[in-house]
């Protein structure tokens, strides 16, 4: 333990000039991130105006509403969907990221570009494309009927399954990128050393590859779980608003229903979950590894 102390001290020394350089960035952060955030927190503790908007009398009413069974269910449901999305993105994304990372750099950069193309297209267009593909007379149903898998068309539109598909494809690039960058950094000679010492490929994966690419995995979790928890476009369009998620409610409270304090309280909940995840991350991984974020 004592042996690590000097190393830590050295790191802190290096950090000082970096903070100084970050001056302009800090101002930017305060202006555009911290102040709006503080404002949201402030509003969440205010009352709802009679005709919408905010009445500036302090109350914790919004937070009490969140504990209400209906909202609580929505929160749980949202967490569940975000969790499944994240899990699927990790399971699909890791092998893909691994595959790309083991290709020569020229090929890898092309594959990454391919991966990012959907991300650069308008998200409404992408979601509409999914709707077209999966509608009752759409190509997917036609195909399934043509090969005789089903007699009558299957209803995909507005099902939780399609919502999940939309979420997973939407967030997959964000999961792949940080994991790719972690795997790419992994020295091949470490895998060779492991094999040399008698480890089968499976053992090498579990004992060397996985722990050393954990920073990328965690970044992928943060980059998919948090937006998946807050999204409303995907759930609105592909789910048809049949099932409500946190994101939909926040949008509705700020929009149609005009209960800003409740919307703000829900946003604060998302913030707390995010902060908790990042806190966990910094506890378990070295701070230096945060660079992949």
């Amino acid at each position: 333990m004592t042996a690590n102390a000097p190393a830590l001290k050295k790191k802190r020394h290096n950090r000082m000039p970096m903070l100084a350089q970050a001056g302009p960035v800090s101002i930017w952060m305060i202006l555009f991130v911290t102040i709006p955030m503080l404002f949201i927190i402030y509003i969440s503790f205010m009352s709802r105006g009679t005709f919408g908007g905010v009445e500036y009398t302090p109350t914790t009413e919004s937070y009490a509403t969140l504990m209400d069974a209906t909202y609580f269910k929505v929160i749980l449901k949202s967490l569940e969907v975000a969790l499944i999305t994240t899990g699927a993105c990790l399971l699909l994304g890791y092998p893909f990221a691994y595959y790309i990372a083991r290709k020569p750099p020229e090929v890898a950069s092309k594959l990454i570009t391919l991966l990012m193309i959907p991300f650069w297209t308008n998200s409404l267009m992408r979601l509409n494309a999914w709707m077209l593909l999966f509608q009752t007379n759409g190509p997917v149903n036609n195909f399934l009927q043509a090969i005789g898998l089903t007699e009558a068309p299957i209803t995909f539109i507005y099902t939780p399954g399609l919502v999940l598909l939309g979420l997973i494809t939407n967030f997959l690039p964000f999961a792949v990128l940080p994991m790719y960058s972690s795997i790419e950094k992994l020295q091949k000679s470490l895998l060779e050393a492991s094999a040399d010492l008698g480890a089968t490929p499976r053992t090498t994966f579990l004992k060397v590859t996985l722990p050393l690419t954990f920073p990328g995995i965690f970044s992928a979790i943060i980059l998919t779980f948090i937006p998946a928890l807050g999204t409303y476009t995907v759930t609105d369009m592909l789910g048809g608003g049949k099932v409500l998620y946190i994101g939909n409610i926040i949008k509705n409270q700020f929009g149609a229903i005009r209960n800003w304090p409740l919307g703000a309280a829900l946003s604060v909940l998302l913030l707390v979950i995010t902060a908790l995840l990042i806190f966990l991350y910094t506890r378990f991984a070295k701070i230096d590894d945060l660079e992949v974020l």
């Binding site: 042996a3 060779e192 050393l212």
Partner: protein, 363 residues
């Protein structure tokens, strides 16, 4: 070959059109310290990696303990490697790094603990078991890497320039330690280096490699005193290599005509007209102020350089070649620019067949 623990038979390696290892044949004896020595890019690492199983030979066979290993994955081979960049697992402590092999083989915990401690003591790293590799110096990392390999009781330890990243002083110290360790444990070491001094200090036998071919295999004394090719003469230690043509042969005595003059020396298997190359070490070169019988090599002293314990004298031959003479003490009777006559004891020079050397490479 009953005693050879590793055997390379007609091993070839191609990377695309790049012929990296050419028809290599090598018998490595049980318990010996064998060094693959050669300039960068000559195929040393590739050869080692084929033995370890990280690369497949394009053709030929590799045997470890008499068994062909082509179909064995690295984790199935009874050899261990010490990598040049150490390749310690950065997320594990020194203890866990060294315990890696035995843990995988499911050795009981208590036994692992005992063995790890024993190994760390062996490489003088006891007390560091809780550190992470990040908190170790280069030399310390190398010791841990060696312990991590040795704990598996390999029959053969492969080392790829293990001291390459260390500073000179530490390198010299580790050379001695490694050699002692190898003697003590009796494990076969196959050691790769491009540093001929390191090879001379540590090895039982040296395989001098050039362009994927072993030019000469022999003890350090053999390759130093009896280089078989011009390349070996040049690469091992310092040598004056003088090209010429055999003018006449009388038994073992040959007269060689060079650009710098004619010399009478000894050599076997030469005929008049053969191209030849004479190698003479700086410490065996002599100069005289008057002509010496058998040598017609007038020259001029260029300068003196003090290099620690020795004085090096540069001498210009007729025709422009510069040769070197080294002595422990300066000959005060000589001065820069002075005209002298070069000679040497014919038994101290090595006559190398030039065409034969070329054939060996092409073989």
């Amino acid at each position: 070959m009953p005693n050879s623990i590793v055997s390379l038979q007609h091993v070839e390696k191609w990377y695309g059109n790049n012929h990296v290892v050419k028809d290599m044949n090598l018998e490595i004896q049980e318990g010996e310290f064998l060094t693959l020595l050669g300039p960068s890019g000559c195929g040393k690492t590739t050869t080692l990696r084929m033995i370890a199983g990280f690369e497949d030979a394009s053709s030929g066979s590799i045997l470890v303990q008499g068994e062909r290993v082509e179909d064995k994955e690295p984790f199935q081979r009874d050899v261990n490697t010490v990598f040049q960049n150490y390749s310690l697992f950065p997320h594990m402590t020194v203890f866990d790094n060294v315990a890696y092999g035995p843990t995988i083989r499911k050795m009981p915990k208590e036994e692992i603990r005992e063995k790890v401690m024993e190994m760390l003591a062996l490489v003088q790293m006891d007390g560091y078991e809780k550190r992470k590799p990040d908190a170790l110096s280069g030399g310390q990392k190398q010791r841990v890497a060696i312990a991590r390999a040795l704990i598996n009781n390999p029959r053969v330890l492969l080392l790829d320039e293990p001291l390459g990243a260390l500073d000179l002083k530490l390198r010299k110290q580790m050379q001695v330690e490694l050699k002692r360790l190898q003697k003590k444990l009796g494990i076969t070491f196959v050691y790769v280096t491009h540093d001929q001094e390191e090879a001379m200090t540590m090895s039982d036998r040296i395989a001098v490699m050039r362009n994927g071919v072993i030019d000469q295999l022999g003890s350090p004394v053999e390759v130093y005193e009896r280089p078989r090719t011009k390349f070996v003469a040049d690469f091992i230690g310092e040598s004056n290599v003088i090209d010429g043509t055999v003018e006449s042969v009388d038994g073992q005595t040959i007269v060689v005509k060079t650009a710098g003059g004619t010399v009478t020396t000894v050599g076997e298997g030469f005929a008049a007209g053969d191209p030849i190359c004479l190698s003479i070490r700086p410490e065996f070169l002599e100069v005289s102020k008057t002509p010496v019988a058998g040598f017609d090599m007038p020259a001029r002293i260029k300068d003196f350089i003090y290099a620690g314990s020795v004085v090096r004298t540069s001498i210009d031959l007729v025709g422009g070649q510069e040769i070197k003479l080294s002595r422990f003490e300066m000959d005060s009777s000589l001065s820069e620019g002075e005209a002298v006559y070069v000679w040497w004891d014919p038994a101290k020079s090595v006559a190398i067949h030039v065409e034969k050397a070329a054939e060996e490479v092409a073989e």
